[in-house]
């Protein structure tokens, strides 16, 4: 269910780290909890994001949800497809519907994040509500 190569936060974001670039998205659990996603607001390329601080908003028909960055760094890419097709977040949250790519300031920041197994257990226990 949850890809092995990703790391996960307690707020239901994921990050995939390649060298010094982190790709960030929301988890399948997050999209299920939100329901039909109809709006995504993301930062611009060049903006700074800070670990554990909100960098954007995902809205379903019913709810508004902040998205928190797992790491600190500079935004180097934004998934423009989501502006026209926010429903991609329901269809493929761990793949095509990534949110932003960030140049990491400090790789060590990812050390406290959960592995796929840990996150799966965390969700199963019903944590984060």
């Amino acid at each position: 269910m949850y890809p092995q190569e990703l790391l996960y936060t307690r707020e239901h974001e994921w990050i995939r780290v390649d060298e010094l670039t982190g790709t960030i998205g929301i988890t399948d659990h997050a999209q299920k909890e939100l329901g039909d996603i109809v709006f995504v607001e993301l930062p611009k390329v060049g903006d700074q994001v800070v670990a554990r601080e909100s960098f954007g908003t995902v809205e379903s028909v019913k709810a508004v949800s902040d998205v928190y960055s797992p790491v600190t760094g500079e935004v180097v890419a934004v998934n423009k497809k989501l502006q026209e097709s926010p429903e991609l977040l329901n269809a493929d949250p761990h793949g095509e519907a990534w949110l932003i790519k960030v140049r990491l300031r400090d790789r060590k920041e990812t050390e406290g994040l959960m592995t796929a197994e840990q996150y799966e257990a965390y969700v199963r226990e019903g944590a984060g509500h």
Binding site: T57, V64, Q83
Partner: protein, 372 residues
């Protein structure tokens, strides 16, 4: 599930059926209710294009009987109950003396001296106490909520689906009329009413038969694409139709005139609670008025967001959402009455600190086209 106050939530007779159908449950008005089954978007579109079935058994029912019932109802509500024939229903408001609503509700005239009110779940006790407190006419007033389950079958296919299960001649039940009828053999009251902006029916019947009626309707509607629908879709549907929701567009602070409900204020019927306050307001002008808007810029307006007109703070959003059928971001707001607060004018809604452009539009946002 428990509320923050530690109170146990009430459940309808269909609680288990909802869980089995995979519904996501939420707290609403002290009840644990289905928010969505397959998704708000799908359920909303099913109601607009085919049909949806809602469990609305959380709604309260209050019965008034006796020779004083009409006089009592005339005094506590704003609409003219005397205009109702037996078998007719009426949208009205239970009134405070200051011209605001204790609740908005439907009055059904069951017999000459026998009425049934359908009221908002969260307001049932308050309504019952309010009516009882003003009962100077010796009417019998009973909270009979536990005696009724209520299902709402809504959408362009609703009549065709229901026709397979009922003994009633549906063509003879006009909009806002009702009659005793059966559905899959279960007797109840069948009304051509709803809260979605579509044609449809609301069926009041004994709770013990809930699962039977619910399953029979879902099965009968399967070929038509009928879906069970939750409170999420019920809210987006009523918003597209611009129906007020108590606690959002209506509350103790808001008069019926401000809410655009002057059409249910029948001043010529005689004295009623709030009459003098409403007449005075009519003369001196409104303090605020309900407007509809659609977003021009990117963003969804939500309840409580500030509204700006001509660079000045002008009010607040009371309901806002993405509208699944209209595919626009829409909302209702109370603003200061002014020449700038009219349909066509551009305004701004403050979303997370940013003012985003929107335009005032005529209400309702959605109106179904009459059957040819």
């Amino acid at each position: 599930m428990a509320t923050p106050a530690g109170l146990t939530l009430k459940r309808t007779a269909l609680y288990e059926a909802h869980r089995a159908a995979g519904a996501r449950m939420v707290e609403f008005g002290g009840w644990e209710m289905p928010l969505e089954y397959t998704g708000i978007m799908q359920e909303h579109l099913a109601v607009r294009t085919r049909a949806g079935l809602f469990d609305v058994s959380h709604m309260g029912e209050i019965e008034l009987r006796g020779s004083g019932a009409l006089a009592l109802l005339q005094y506590v509500t704003s609409n003219d109950v005397a205009r109702l024939a037996v078998g007719q229903a009426q949208y009205t408001a239970l009134m405070y003396p200051q011209g605001s609503a204790v609740d908005d509700c439907l009055v059904h005239r069951l017999a000459e001296d026998h009425y049934l009110l359908c009221v908002n779940a969260a307001n049932t006790e308050k309504d019952f106490e309010w009516i009882t407190r003003h009962n100077s006419w010796g009417a019998s007033v009973r909270d009979v909520s536990h005696e009724y389950s209520q299902l709402a079958l809504q959408g362009p296919r609703a009549a065709a689906i229901l026709a397979r299960l009922t003994d009633a001649d549906l063509g003879a039940i006009k909009y806002y009329c009702f009659r005793p009828a059966t559905c899959c053999g279960v007797g109840g009251l069948l009304a051509r009413t709803g809260y979605t902006g579509e044609d449809g029916f609301e069926f009041y019947f004994p709770p013990s038969e809930s699962e039977r009626v619910w399953s029979a309707l879902l099965d009968a509607g399967k070929p038509d694409g009928l879906l069970p629908a939750g409170l999420g879709a019920r809210n987006t549907l009523r918003l597209e139709a611009a129906y007020p929701l108590y606690g959002h567009e209506l509350d103790e602070e808001t008069t019926l005139l401000e809410a655009g409900l002057g059409w249910i204020c029948k001043f010529d019927k005689g004295e009623f609670l709030g009459r003098a306050a409403l007449l005075a307001e009519q003369q001196h002008g409104l303090r605020k008025k309900l407007v509809g808007f659609e977003m021009l810029g990117r963003g969804i307006a939500r309840d409580g967001y500030p509204v700006w007109i001509g660079g000045e703070p002008a009010g607040r959003v009371t309901s806002g959402s993405y509208a699944p059928f209209l595919r626009r971001n829409i909302g209702l707001a109370y603003v200061l009455p002014s020449e700038a607060a009219v349909a066509g004018r551009e305004i701004a809604v403050e979303i997370r600190g940013q003012r985003v452009a929107a335009r005032l539009v005529p209400l309702p946002f959605y109106k179904r086209t009459a059957k040819s």
